[in-house]
């Protein structure tokens, strides 16, 4: 992330010289240990002495903890320490009973994770049934799903995307690490149409998106839109 020479360091003043890397590693270790939530590199850097490079320190620390009882894990843009999965049985007493998710909720979650950003209509198209009330709301409440950008297609529907909390919960470093993602993509199963003869469709959808995005009228946080939504009630 930051290379030491790039840093504008006031020379000669030891007060502003970055601490040795080993010391930075200790700092990152302490911070990650103390926090239950993942910390971004920026958050760590903000707390560390000027000129520190948490990115490198985190990599060192990660290697140090390989095979240990706790692990340094990446969660999206952030880092966290989590206990090793094989030792879960020791922690049974700490388990907080989580609400059991319905099959519909689990499927909806998977669709959002693999197809994100995805609209409600697309989720329904994939599942072949309407998304019942309480399904998405449960996922939002768990902070596994949030609203993404509106799709720039007629109706400008909101989209859903998966969150960092989702990644953390399922032990994924990033959304690219979803199991089987590559195979699904290669099989064309993340598209809205079968692979053959799909090109025209896919292209069309993209174009529409661009078209609307360039339209200043559509891009306005339009009074119209909000009012329309509320007038419906």
């Amino acid at each position: 992330m930051t290379d030491a020479p790039d840093q504008p360091q006031p020379r000669g003043d030891t007060l502003f010289r970055a601490p040795p890397l080993a010391e930075q590693e200790r700092m990152v270790e302490a911070m990650l240990f103390a926090s239950a939530e993942p910390l971004t590199l920026a958050e760590m850097e903000a707390r560390m002495p000027h000129g520190s490079d948490p990115a490198e320190a985190v990599q060192l620390l990660r290697r140090r903890y390989e095979g240990r009882g706790v692990q340094v894990t990446r969660v999206g843009d952030a880092w966290a320490i989590r206990t090793a999965a094989d030792l879960g049985f020791l922690m049974a007493r700490e388990t907080v009973e989580t609400r059991k998710l319905s099959r519909a909720a689990i499927e909806t979650l998977a669709i959002i994770a693999y197809h994100q950003p995805v609209t409600r209509a697309e989720i329904e198209e994939i599942r072949g049934v309407s998304v019942s009330r309480g399904t998405v709301d449960q996922l939002i409440e768990l902070e596994w799903v949030r609203f993404g950008r509106r799709r720039m297609t007629p109706g400008r529907p909101v989209t859903y995307v998966a969150t960092q909390t989702f990644l953390d919960h399922f032990g994924l470093e990033s959304a690219r690490d979803l199991p089987g993602l590559k195979e699904l993509r290669e099989a064309g199963l993340l598209e809205s149409r079968p692979p053959d003869g799909s090109e025209a469709e896919g292209l069309q959808r993209d174009d529409t998106g661009d078209m609307f995005e360039d339209d200043p009228e559509a891009a306005l946080p339009g009074d119209d839109d909000f009012d329309d939504d509320f007038d419906d009630d």
Partner: protein, 267 residues
Amino acid sequence: MADRPIAANDTDAEWDAVASRRAAEALIVDVDGFEGPLDLLLTLSRTQKVDLRRISVLQLTEQYLVFIEQARTLRIELAADYLVMAAWLAFLKSRLLLPPDPSDEGPSGEEMAAYLAFQLERLAAMRDCAAKLMARDRLLQDRFPRGASQEMTTAKRITYTAGLLDLMQAYARIRTRDDFRPYVMDRDAVLTMEEALDRMRGLIGFAGDWTDLMSYLPDGWQLDPKRRRSATAANFAAALELAKAGKVQIRQTETFSPIELKRRDDR
């Protein structure tokens, strides 16, 4: 299904027939367990025991239509979705069986069948992904975060937090307040038109000359802005009612000037 070529071994065929009928009955009894027609189709497609890419859509269509027919004879109520799917599949079947009409626009039977197969494969893939996701080492089940809260308390800073959910629910609460509680809105600060009307009917008799509408506000309603506002509106509406009934006259000398009323004596 009866049209299918029967296997050489008759007893085996019979056994198969019994088994498949049992399976079909089990399916019907379980109809509540299906999450829509696509889910049902996916389950039926499993009986073909082939890769979803090689599935016979025609055969699947027939299975589905038979299922719907059996459900009907058993008087099982099916949601409209299932019937819509049945109609669509019947249409698809005719397209697949009839020679293509060159003048016909729209997707061919093969394209429609390919899309259905694609949908099934995609749904199956998502099911599979969901299962893989749930089987991962999950936080607070297999992996655990730091349990101890931060032990050092040197500088305490208070930050306020709120989630998107709070925000949206707050907004929804405001915008739909009337839906939730139509008449319970802060009643202590609301003077109804009826109350104002009752009051004004009594008072108007005593006022001989033009009197400022504001002077009719009940005691204790002048200072508090919310109450004053409500009482003013109620009084104004009441005055209009009285004018309509021919009981009072209203005048206002210019825009924003006080509104005055007077009893109407000429009748």
